[in-house]
Symmetry: none
Subunit: 417 residues, 2 copies
């Protein structure tokens, strides 16, 4: 099963937008057992779309096309595809009523551009889009399926997950492919590869292992392929068990989930609450925790004490403590964690102070230094850690935040370092 | 002058790596006046490389190829190009001594793989690489230049900047391409297109307009093409002026920057400070503001009052106010903004309360509702706004936060709605 991805948009070619859509689609199709033969990005130009589509007909089983479906005049994908697939534009009443409802909600009057978005070629199957005004389209020609999707990432993902992937799996899946994701934290990719080199060498031929690192979290993906689901599942399960015996401390979840989701579930299951006191992470930990639906059940809030005066006035950190040990010190974060937990009356709290960069580093506390404290009433009291990461600000904020959430995990589960 | 970018690597197709190289190369070549006709990503497979190169010969003026030049067995680009361009592998003594020196500095012994990297086809011009062990290569065939570069971003960029771009500019610079980005906020893409339809129709033929939306912000990109830089710049400038006369309220910046960076500069220039009190946005606004280097100059901190009890205990919002008007009300956010500004002693403050979803909505306050208040001592006092956005949690949090920052912008600049 061969696949191609075509992304349309001048902004992709002149480098104003990094094409993350095709990476996401590539990962999903690859998981579903397709060989992604190539990805191609082209201009919003009629002749370029014609060329790309005609090159693909009968060469690939499926072609996913994104972009160029917006309401403005530079969006020409729909009309071009209509012509290629010998269609005629017709108003789709379902799409029209979906757009109408969406506009009403936002209190915006529908205009001619919106109405035009409800027109689709009569030669396609419409893929309804609850996330936006541009519907997806499914065409077939000479054995090749062409699927056109909006370029807005969450709209594209919605239509892929809701309509495209289930249908493709039904039609094409002859071979069983099973992916299992093991989420790890606590070591580097190269170190982990070293630890797992023996495990990797002894993997049966039908199993592949991939390392997918992101801000300190390394997702290990085991992929098993075969004809019989049960057999493949058993082989994968066995390898997962082996992994647990080699790196028990490093694994935090067997679901492909971010650490904030894991912690959310942990707190919810145990009926516990948490709050935060952030300095260098500037709200990132709070934002991660509250990105999870239902987080108001366990997350109470935060004091972001970005300025030192706020550490003193709102979190009662004595000025002498700051001048003696520095704002970035285990003493200060311990005090911040203790005080914020008192104020917010939660079971747990986590506090950070560090130097995200690019400026503000010193010999003894270089850019990338962070102190983290977790306070709890589970008998352990406050624990603190100090780490030094890299030079890049955004990267540091992310790594500081994930390290903080991992410390929370360790405290709740009472794990050793 | 037509250009193509070919990126080679399985990891790009299965979505394990997002292709940032081609975006960077696209931006550089576009600035240098090339029309990037397409970008294509292919497998590390001999036949795929052969296909891609033969498709490009005499079709484009230049083709930049990245990836597949590493020392391991899956890197086959160099040998394949050597065959395509009728070469013979020869040891390049300059490359060999550069690799030797690099290895010595790192204290690593040179091995067979390293020595192999010093072999290059005798049909190419070698582009020396001070940043790594794989040299770049410059081939020409039937009027098309093929440039092969390593996939490691900083190595690729080094060779591009040092060797490729200067040479291309010397040989090709005849056409000038100028991009100008106008950042707007305050209306939908379809509405903006309606407002600008007359403007768009009257654009001179050498100017193109594109709409690039993201969470309520719409970037308008004007692209001008011509022979003479000064003339093209003048034409683009004229169109920018026209835009200002049509949508003065909507434009917030002429630089391609996020709104948090614009606000950061505004505060810094005026020596002003700000703090936040977030409920539904859960730290997102703080995180956006603190993502900007140097934000500690103007950002003091936040109270994230996710739980209503914190609105009362830390921000003095009377319980009766919450029970009378609801936590999501203009009254409550106004109080939050006023109180947090007092506590943090800043010139401005912004507060949010809303329903991000997926649950928690009601008939009168559906999911997507947000109330925002900005407090200041510039004589206006507190202003509040209420909006209704969509159904999707993460999207809502982003849109709420950007709407909040826009309200801050309006307050600082004393703009009407």
């Amino acid at each position: 099963m061969k696949a191609e991805i075509i992304t349309i948009g001048d902004e992709l070619l002149i480098g104003q937008t990094v094409d993350t859509n095709s990476a996401w689609i590539g990962a999903e199709l690859s998981q579903a057992g397709f060989d992604i033969c190539r990805k191609i990005s082209i201009h919003d130009r009629r002749e370029d779309i014609l060329d790309a589509v005609s090159e693909a007909v009968s060469r690939y089983d499926i072609v996913i096309i994104t972009g160029g479906l917006g309401p403005t005049s530079d969006d020409i994908t729909k009309q071009t595809l209509c012509d290629i697939f010998n269609g005629r534009m017709v108003l789709n009443p379902t799409v029209l009523s979906m757009i109408d409802e969406m506009m009403k909600r936002r209190g915006i009057a529908m205009n001619e551009n919106n109405r035009k978005q409800a027109e689709v070629p009569d030669s396609c199957r419409v893929l309804y889009n609850k996330m936006g005004t541009a519907p997806g389209m499914w065409f077939e020609k000479e054995g090749t399926i062409f699927i056109s999707l909006p370029g807005v990432p969450y709209e594209m993902k919605y239509i892929m997950n809701e309509h495209v992937l289930p249908e493709l799996k039904k039609r094409f899946q002859s071979q069983v492919i099973i992916h299992r994701n093991i989420m790890t934290y606590g070591t580097s990719e190269s170190k982990l590869a070293e630890i797992l080199s023996g495990f990797e060498k002894s993997l049966p031929p039908e199993i592949k292992l991939a390392y997918l690192p992101s801000y300190g979290i390394i997702k290990l993906r085991l992929t098993g392929t075969g004809r019989n689901r049960e057999i493949v599942e058993n082989i994968v399960d066995e390898q997962v068990k082996k992994l647990y015996s080699i790196i028990p401390q490093l694994i935090y979840s067997e679901i492909d989930e971010p650490i904030e989701s894991f912690i959310g579930n942990l707190l919810k299951e145990r009926g516990l609450t948490i709050c935060t006191a952030e300095s260098c992470t500037g709200g990132k930990i709070a934002q991660m925790l509250t990105s999870i639906p239902g987080s108001s059940q366990y997350y109470k809030g935060s004091v972001i004490a970005y300025d030192n005066s706020i550490k003193t006035s709102l979190l009662n950190v004595p000025e002498e403590m700051i001048s003696n040990y520095g704002a970035v010190s285990e003493q200060v974060v311990a005090k911040m964690a203790t005080e914020v937990r008192k104020k917010f009356r939660t079971d747990y709290s986590v506090a950070t102070s560090g130097i995200a960069g690019p400026d503000g580093g010193s010999e003894s506390k270089p850019v990338g230094t962070v102190c983290i404290a977790v306070s709890s009433d589970n008998g352990v009291g406050v624990i603190t850690e100090k780490y030094v990461f890299g030079n890049e600000r955004i990267l540091n904020i992310n790594r500081f935040s994930i390290a903080s959430l991992n410390l929370v995990r360790r405290q709740i589960l009472q794990l050793q370092k």
